[in-house]
């Protein structure tokens, strides 16, 4: 009944096959939804929203009045990833993260990959996120990206692509954990019937990984989470992770560097800190090393880090590989460092600094998605098919002025998941952000943040741009297809 008028409209639908039949792994969820009446479904939806508000699971909106909090819109219908499909994603992510770490370590040391001609030298030095202060540093295990939140998307044929790597300070994992808690309260029976892999070991894994980074711990390593403060859009997540790991949440003003070590100011005097999970951008870490006007930072932090007195996760300087021009070379990195073909493909990318690519981009602005090389969060972006002539002219001028700063990709027909719209369901476009921890070993959280563009037809899923989220269920094993299930 909810789905009587549901259309896949030629998109890849995560729940229904092209012919309209339900995918086997979504059967139980569909039955559960269909067993509800409209009132019950809406009551569940409101209950979930009220729960999120009461739990204070909110984010701050920039550009709004300071302190405006909103709940991240949450849709009850989960996105389900079959076990076999997840195995593929997991292998692909491990390969990619490993290669990215090799690349960053190489770039801040001998730059072999450049010398061997696999990547042009000038795109490295021209990257805004290249940090010369990090040259020659060797973080523990040679790992620069301890926590990654890779954005994956699926195109019309269902193929997964890596859209962005998000190596710097990826956020959203707290929503993965909290969304699951909310859904378990609302649909306990479905969890009883399906083998959904749990996500709640994430914070233990995170703590374990962070503790393993301690340079020379005396006893139990002192780990802290460094936040820009309560007005940061991801503050809820910072405090949530600190709370779940049982570690201190500190702001820059709580830390002080003395005698080469980092200390936090406590009621009983200074206490040494071994590992900082920093949720602050490179630029705001240390006014002595980066931006001198930063009030958030800790003077001397980078010297302590360079001297091996404290560990920082993620490692400063790793944003070099987040540059969208360098992103285009990740397949080359995988071939170069892993001597393998990439398991997860990149989205085909045009680099505007190449003359041929630029001409193509300028001639096809109405079909492409243009992104600036160093922005995130859906800012600085043009979605060609949804743009106005004025917007295209503006981007054409920007591209001509700073070709190094822009890339373009075909507009993908992102996959869709049924989403509650008033009293029925409509398909809405989604992406998927799995979280990867990398210390001595690489761990991929079985799940991830499914972000959904709540507006009809929209392809922009960022929370800052009106996106919402869904719980992501990774199945432990796939259900055998029933005979005669499809007519």
């Amino acid at each position: 009944m909810f789905f009587s008028s549901y259309q896949t409209e030629g998109f890849f639908d995560e729940m229904f096959e092209a012919g309209g039949g339900v995918r086997p792994h979504a059967q139980l969820v569909l039955e559960t939804i269909n067993s509800l009446d409209g009132g019950q479904l809406l009551r569940h939806k409101h209950a979930a929203e009220r729960l999120l508000l009461q739990l204070g699971i909110t984010f701050n909106v920039y550009g709004d009045n300071q302190g405006t909090e909103r709940i991240f819109p949450f849709d009850l219908i989960p996105r389900i990833v079959p076990a076999a499909e997840w195995g593929y994603i997991e292998r692909g992510l491990k390969q990619r993260i490993h290669a990215l770490n090799c690349f960053i370590d190489d770039i801040y040391h001998d730059q072999k990959i450049v010398k061997d001609g696999a990547i042009p030298a000038d795109i490295i030095t021209s990257a805004a996120s290249y940090r010369k202060q990090c040259h020659g540093l060797t973080p523990p295990f040679g790992v620069w990206c301890h926590i990654t939140g890779t954005d994956l998307v699926r195109d019309r044929d269902g193929q997964y692509y890596v859209l962005e790597d998000n190596l710097r300070v990826p956020s959203g994992v707290s929503y993965v954990l909290e969304n699951r808690e909310v859904l378990k309260r609302i649909f306990p029976r479905v969890f009883e019937g399906l083998a959904v892999r749990p996500v709640n070991e994430y914070t233990s894994r995170l703590l374990e990984m962070l503790e393993s980074l301690a340079p020379n711990p005396r006893g139990k390593p002192q780990v802290v989470v460094l936040t820009p403060g309560i007005y940061n859009s991801a503050y809820f997540e910072h405090s949530f992770l600190a709370q779940q790991m049982g570690v201190q949440l500190v702001e820059g003003r709580d830390l002080v560097v003395a005698g080469g070590d980092v200390f936090m100011r406590t009621t009983k005097g200074p206490q040494r800190v071994d590992v900082i999970y920093r949720r602050v951008d490179d630029d705001f870490l240390d006014p002595e090393a980066f931006r001198p006007d930063s009030l958030l930072g800790v003077p001397g932090l980078m010297s302590a880090y360079r001297a091996g007195r404290v560990a920082l996760a993620n490692a400063p300087g790793n944003g070099i590989a987040d540059d969208k021009v360098i992103y285009a070379y990740v397949p080359e990195m995988i071939r170069y460092y892993e001597r393998e073909e990439p398991i997860l493909p990149n989205v085909p990318t045009y680099l505007c600094w190449r003359d041929a690519d630029r001409s193509h981009v300028l001639a096809n602005l109405d079909k492409l998605v243009v992104k600036s090389a160093n922005e995130s969060g859906g800012y600085g972006m043009l979605v060609g098919p949804h743009s106005t002539a004025a917007q295209r002219a503006e981007f054409a001028a920007k591209i001509a002025a700073e070709p190094r700063n822009f890339i373009a990709q075909p507009t993908l027909a992102l996959s869709r998941v049924p989403t509650i719209v008033d009293d029925h369901f409509e398909g809405r476009h989604v992406d998927l952000r799995p979280y990867v921890l990398c210390g001595k070993e690489i761990y991929v959280l079985p799940g991830g943040l499914t972000r959904v563009a709540m507006r009809k037809g929209s392809l922009v899923v960022n929370s800052s741009q009106g996106g919402g989220s869904k719980d992501t269920w990774v199945l432990a094993h796939d259900p055998a297809p029933h005979a005669g299930q499809e007519q």
Binding site: L55, G56, G246, Q248, T266, T267, Q271
Partner: protein, 324 residues
């Protein structure tokens, strides 16, 4: 507390103020409720006694400047919902939540949720100028604060941060009790023509009810008598809103924080709090009344303010998210 986690100075400061604001909100709600209830019992000539409620806040000048006359409507608006007045119930809860938000990893999730629920309740209510039903509103705020106290007690380890919460709560409570005593004693004592009338008893009973102390007073002293009420509210060692009780428990918590044994001190705040505790432990009510209760209350408030300042100097290096 040998293996205790270190406590950030900023966090200690924030939990201390979170506690003070919650306690302040609860007291203001109780004062409003009791005064409103009293108005209903008194003959018309007495009604409109809202100025004393303003006086107990110590912010009479600000009130006069912003609202002028102490009508019921004005007082309710000022004390319940005025976002520009830092000690209104609305502001207190907002500041308490702001502080709680900055230390969510230190307090328990349940405590955070309860403060957040209280905040959602007050934001909803404060869309009006004054509460739709004053008794219902005050009751809701008080119960929410009591629930918070219970949640605090059973969900959070009684660690250093918890003791800072206790110190904040108890100093705030002692301050409020001293203010109500000071203001009410002044008003009620000169009304000799009321002595022996039912209204005298009603008004004194209201003083006790302002600190939820009526029933416990009855058990302790029975008949309503001004000196005994003063003794009860100042010097009782068992009633949780009596000043001596608050000071002795605050002293206990501060010792738990520093580890200093009784009879010694390790910092200025501890020394001042110990002195005050000793003074109250060995005081009798008669000399206080002879020398003047107002003078005593005044001195008491000064001492408690000094303790607050020393706590800040001794433990909190920096400013919390919000404070007045």
């Amino acid at each position: 507390m040998t293996h205790a986690q270190p406590l950030l100075s900023r966090v200690a400061d924030a939990v201390y103020w979170m506690a003070r604001y919650i306690e302040r909100a609860e007291n203001v709600a109780r004062f409003l409720d009791v005064n409103h209830n009293l108005m209903l019992d008194l003959p018309k000539a007495y009604t409109g006694q809202w100025q004393p409620v303003i006086d107990t806040t110590g912010d009479s000048a600000l009130f006069r400047q912003r609202y002028g006359e102490a009508t019921q409507q004005n007082v309710l608006q000022f004390l319940a919902f005025d976002p520009g007045y830092p000690n209104s119930i609305y502001s207190c809860i907002r500041f308490a939540r702001e502080n709680a938000r900055s230390v969510r990893e230190t307090i328990s999730s349940e405590m955070w949720q309860q403060i957040n629920n209280l905040y959602l309740l007050i934001t909803e209510e404060s869309r009006r100028e004054t509460p739709a039903s004053l008794p219902a509103f005050c009751h809701a705020v008080r119960m929410a604060c009591h629930l918070f106290a219970g949640i605090l007690d059973v969900t959070m380890s009684h660690n250093e941060a918890w003791h800072f919460i206790r110190v904040g709560t108890l100093l705030e409570r002692a301050d409020k009790t001293s203010r109500i005593l000071d203001v009410k004693y002044f008003i009620l004592l000169p009304s000799v023509h009321d002595v022996g009338t039912p209204y005298d008893d009603v008004q004194w009973a209201a003083v006790l009810k302002s600190v939820s102390g009526f029933e416990m007073y009855r058990k302790r002293f029975g008949r309503i008598a001004p000196e005994r009420i003063v003794e009860f509210l100042l010097l009782d060692g068992e009633f949780p809103r009596a000043i001596r009780y608050c000071i002795s428990r605050a002293d206990r918590s501060l010792r738990a924080i520093t580890g200093a044994p009784a009879g010694t001190f390790s910092c200025a705040s501890e020394q001042r709090l110990g002195l005050l505790r000793g003074e109250l432990d060995f005081a009798r009510v008669e000399p206080i009344l002879t020398a003047g209760l107002h003078e005593f209350c005044d001195a008491l408030q000064t001492k408690m303010n000094t303790i607050d300042e020393y706590v800040l100097n001794d433990f909190f290096a920096q400013q919390p998210a919000a404070r007045s």
